[in-house]
Structure formats: structure tokens, C-alpha cells
């Protein structure tokens, strides 16, 4: 796979994972970009083509974790252009609520649920995160329960 092909195939997925982590479009774009810069730099050394997805998602997750070092991002209020955007999708409110709920989880849960929603196999998630498959399964179950609960409360309001 050439870099261009990887970029086209994975940009959207990586962006969503970053978006699940920070829930801020511009910030997520920045992290996605950093992820692809690492991919671009390290691609010549990468040999195991069958596991390219795992490799890219590991880099993306670690780039997300690195954000712990730079928590002091500009507050969203400084990005007025984003507030003026009109929702194009009728589900916009629900989508943003989902991403908001995910961003409220702890760092690890955010990464795990993002990978799960991206339809990545639980065995692969286990390899990406470095915990056992059964642990992944338990965590996903708990996170989904939490999200369902939040949606229930949200709908009742």
C-alpha cells in the first residue's frame, strides 16, 4: 500500500477516533494529521502489511494519549466560526451528544469504545491497547451500558 492509498483509506477512521477522544473538530484534525505524519515517517520501515490497520490505530491512540501533555488548548469559545455552522444532518444533535458522552469517559475507555464503534474486532482492539480480549469485552460492555444510560436520561429531558 502506498502512503496515498493508506491516507485515503484511513483518514476518516483516524479522524473519528481522535474526535471520540477530544470531541473538538479542529483538535481532532490536528491529532489526525500528527498520526499521518508519524505513519508517513515510519512507513518505509513498516514490514507487516497484513496488520497495517492495527499499526495505524496504535499510532492514532498513542497520539491521542500524548494530548495529556498539552491539555491547555484554547477554549472552544475562541473558535467562533464553528458555532455558526448549521447542522446539515438531521441527526446532528444525537451525533454530537454521542461524541460528547464518549469524550466524558476516561482516556482508555474513550480509545476502546472509539475502536469498537469503528467496527474493529475485539481481538484486534486487545492488540492495539495491550490488554486481554476478555478484558476488552468487559470494558466495552460496561461502556455501552454507560452510554445507553446517558442517552436514556437525555431522551427523558
Amino acid at each position: 500500500m502506498t502512503f496515498e492509498e493508506i491516507y485515503q483509506a484511513y483518514w476518516q477512521k483516524v479522524f473519528r477516533i481522535c474526535m471520540g477522544y477530544v470531541n473538538d473538530v479542529d483538535w481532532a484534525k490536528d491529532i489526525s494529521q500528527e498520526t499521518f505524519i508519524t505513519v508517513w515517517q515510519k512507513l518505509p520501515e513498516f514490514r507487516n502489511e497484513s496488520a497495517i490497520g492495527t499499526w495505524i490505530f496504535r499510532i492514532a491512540s498513542n497520539q491521542c494519549l500524548r494530548q495529556l501533555e498539552k491539555q491547555k488548548r484554547m477554549p472552544k469559545s475562541e473558535l467562533p466560526e464553528q458555532l455558526e455552522e448549521k447542522p446539515e444532518n438531521p441527526n446532528e444533535l444525537q451525533i454530537s451528544f454521542l461524541y460528547k458522552c464518549i469524550a466524558e469517559l476516561n482516556e482508555i475507555d474513550r480509545i476502546i469504545i472509539s475502536l469498537e464503534l469503528e467496527d474493529i474486532k475485539q481481538a484486534e482492539i486487545a492488540t492495539i491497547v495491550g490488554i486481554s480480549e476478555s478484558n476488552v469485552r468487559v470494558k466495552i460492555h460496561r461502556i455501552k451500558e454507560k452510554l445507553t444510560e446517558k442517552f436514556k436520561q437525555h431522551e427523558q429531558r
Binding site: F3, E4, Y7, Q8, W11, Q12, F15, R16, M19, G20, V25, A28, K29, Q33, F36, I37, T38, W40, Q41, K42, W55, R58, I59, S61, N62, Q63, L65, R66, L68, E69, Q71, N89, N91, Q94, I95, L98, Y99, N106, E107, I108, D109, I111, L117, E118, D119, T127, I128, V129, G130, I131, K144, L147, T148, F151, K152
Partner: protein, 195 residues
């Protein structure tokens, strides 16, 4: 809300990928910038060394203390620049494709090491610089009157003392609190991984 619905909602979030050519242009630029930074830093190091050597040659110091002083000052400056050069940060980038668990472990270890190095380096820098200045001044002060020499040393030592007792602890405290905060967050993430 079922989990299929979550997936459905999740997938509706999208943003157009920036053009790959734009992206590659940016990546190249970044690489160039990084290289320029390294070149600039090295030039700065060389210029400092040349400048100080120039002073030594120009003033023809006679005593070994002066030469030793200059050597210590140069060592101090080099130590400081090198430790601030984020060498560890660049090394760290190599392991971006570790699993989350390995990455976190390494991240925590690195931060703890960085915390130690920063503190040690800052102290070392001050000690080298102070000793260097005191030695360097000796030759010139010995040619002054006693009062002149005392004043020169007095003012210099007062300035050094202010740095040592006021600015140094402040700098260390600031670094420490920032570092501890990050380490705390990382350890918390690590606990969540195990839970």
C-alpha cells in the same frame, strides 16, 4: 439506544480529508523545520564556544584558573542547551506504534526520568556556571585594589546567590508541578487500563 445505533451515529461524523498533496507538503515543511532547528542549535553552540575562546585569546589569560573558568562556563552552557534540546522527546517518537499499555508505561518512565534530569541539569548548570565565573574572575580581580576586588566579587556573588536561592527554586518548582500533574494523569490512565 442499541449498540448498532451507536455505530450508525458514530459513522455519520465525517470531515473531508485534506488533500493528500497539501498534507505531504506540510509534512515535508515540518521535517525541514525540525532540521533547521537542529542546525540552528548547533550553530548557536559553536558560536558560543568560538566567542568564549575568542575572549580567552584576546585577553591572554596567564593563570590556569581563568582557563579552567572558561572551560567550566562553556561546559555549563553546553549542558544546558543539550538537556533542553528535547533529545528524549525525539527518541520517544520512535515508539509511537507500541500498544497503549506499553506506550503508557514508557510515557510514565520517561516523564519520571525527565523530571530527574531537569532538576539535576538545572543544578549542574548553576554549579558549573558559578564555579566558572568565580575562577574566571580571579585573575582580573587579583590585579585590582582589595576594595575593588571585594566589590566585584561581592556584586557577582550576590547576583549568583539571588539566582541560586530565588530563581532556581522557582524554576524547579514550576517544572515539577507541571511534570507531576502529567505523571498523575498518566498513572490514572494506567489504572483505568487495569481496572
Amino acid at each position: 439506544m442499541s449498540s448498532d445505533n451507536f455505530k450508525d451515529l458514530w459513522n455519520q461524523q465525517s470531515t473531508p480529508a485534506p488533500d493528500v498533496k497539501d498534507f505531504l507538503g506540510k509534512a515535508m515543511q515540518l521535517k525541514k523545520k525540525l532540521r533547521n532547528k537542529i542546525i540552528l542549535l548547533n550553530l548557536l553552540l559553536i558560536a558560543t564556544a568560538v566567542f568564549i575562546t575568542g575572549i580567552v585569546i584576546y585577553f591572554h589569560p596567564q593563570m590556569i584558573t581563568t582557563k579552567l573558568g572558561v572551560l567550566l562556563i562553556i561546559t555549563g552552557i553546553v549542558t544546558f542547551l543539550v538537556s533542553n534540546n528535547r533529545i528524549s522527546k525525539d527518541l520517544f517518537k520512535k515508539n509511537m506504534d507500541y500498544s497503549t499499555k506499553e506506550y503508557l508505561d514508557q510515557f510514565i518512565r520517561l516523564k519520571q526520568k525527565q523530571e530527574f534530569i531537569q532538576k539535576t541539569m538545572l543544578n549542574l548548570y548553576f554549579i558549573l556556571l558559578t564555579t566558572g565565573i568565580i575562577l574566571y574572575m580571579y585573575e582580573y580581580a587579583s590585579r585590582m585594589t582589595t576594595a575593588g576586588a571585594l566589590t566585584t566579587y561581592g556584586v557577582t556573588l550576590a547576583w549568583i546567590a539571588l539566582n541560586w536561592f530565588y530563581f532556581r527554586p522557582q524554576a524547579i518548582k514550576k517544572q515539577l508541578s507541571k511534570m507531576n500533574e502529567i505523571i498523575g494523569m498518566l498513572e490514572n490512565a494506567n489504572r483505568n487500563l487495569e481496572a
